[in-house]
């Protein structure tokens, strides 16, 4: 093949680079809309505040000494959670132990709203 006019090669190359970068930026904007939507959906779906709420109240309940009161309170919490948040929130006590400074008991949390299940156990310390 006979050589054509090949003088504008740098111009052609720059043209390609510019168009590829415009293409890339367009892609970023395109994705950002989707990201905003899916993030907020994921955040709404995950019962973060409900779990925090159950967690906060659990330490208050298990600091009470009287067993009967504790049972009444955990039952009330379970019922309220079922009727108002459509979720199972079960609190129970595990082992207790103590050292020279603290008494501590294990608090077990079970939370499930059908989509997210969450289980946790933590040690609740009370100063002796």
């Amino acid at each position: 093949m006979e050589r054509m006019n090949d003088e504008g090669q740098w111009i052609v190359l720059m043209g390609f680079i510019v168009s590829v970068s415009i293409f890339f930026l367009a892609f970023l904007i395109n994705q950002s809309v989707l990201v905003g939507q899916t993030t907020s959906e994921a955040v709404l779906e995950f019962p973060k505040t409900e779990i925090q709420d159950v967690r906060d109240i659990s330490s208050e309940i298990f600091r009470i000494e009287d067993n009967a009161t504790k049972n009444t309170l955990t039952d009330e919490l379970a019922l309220l959670s079922l009727t108002r948040s459509n979720a199972v929130s079960e609190l129970s006590e595990g082992d207790t132990d103590s050292n020279s400074l603290y008494d501590y008991r294990e608090v077990l949390i079970h939370f499930s709203n059908g989509i997210t299940a969450y289980d946790e156990s933590y040690l609740l310390f009370t100063k002796r």
């Binding site: 939507q37 907020s40 709404l44 159950v54 108002r84």
Partner: protein, 171 residues
Amino acid sequence: MVIPNDEAQLLTIEGLVAGLIMLTTAFFIVGTASVYTPADVHISDMQTEQLGFDALRVMSVPYSYGDESELEEIVSEIDLGGVNETTATLQFRESFSELISSGTGATTIVDSFNFSSSIYYVDSKEVLNKSLLYNAENYARRPSVSTGRYVLSEWDGSDSIVRFEVILWRE
């Protein structure tokens, strides 16, 4: 085989590539536009819900360790009924409104938030509710979000768990 007139092959390829790039860019740009429909309000609802939860959380933190929190106080005052109930109801309305519209302190945030709240409690294995009446109709409007918090407080003469719920919406 002899093909006549084959001088502009590079130009043809360039034209094709340029066309492709323009098409894909146009495709992305058109795809970027999103129409905000009523089904998408959950994006802003998420922020409202978080705001409500945060405000309730702030209100249920006592000022100093071992004290009763403001929300606990309000709940037990409402349980007493009468004048105590009216005062506590107004106190809640004031504190909560202040929390959801707090700016720098020097500016007033003009917003159309409104809310109505009620307390859910258990009475002989049944969940009942008591509304905090600061407007006579105790209405709410859609779209609204529901936020709530469990409070351990004096209710019906003994320590109980109640759920303090607030429905938030924009007028």
